[in-house]
Symmetry: C2
Subunit: 76 residues, 2 copies
């Protein structure tokens, strides 16, 4: 089974990569880009029987820095 | 309006970050993690009227290296 985890910087945490992308898009002539946030996506290929709780534990312990990042888990 | 872009390494392209995560999860006692791929997610806050075609052009020109990466665009 598959699980997909999104890890994003929390609102209010400065995102220099996102800002760099926004600036570059503007310089390339893409108007109307009002904000950009960049995060990570982690796709896990799990043995059958793994639960969302297991994946959340992975997030808490390794995949996300919960001081500055939030995460969401999509199973299946 | 919002758009979300996922950028992943193409199948067959070595993903050292994903391998490092897989190895670390195993060392932490999480059994049954058979594979991990890590990619980027980019959330764009766009002015009204932006189209998926605009976002795909951003991907082709800046957000993804289409030699080794594939991307998907979700609008809304």
């Amino acid at each position: 089974m598959k699980a997909r985890v999104h890890v994003m910087l929390k609102a209010g945490v400065l995102d220099p990569q996102g800002e760099a992308i926004r600036h570059a898009l503007g310089a390339m002539g893409f108007d109307g880009v009002e904000g950009v946030r960049q995060g990570k996506v982690i796709e896990l290929d799990l043995a059958d029987g793994a639960s969302e709780a297991d994946v959340r534990e992975m997030c808490e312990k390794l995949l996300a820095n919960t001081v500055i990042e939030s995460y969401t888990v999509d199973m299946g």
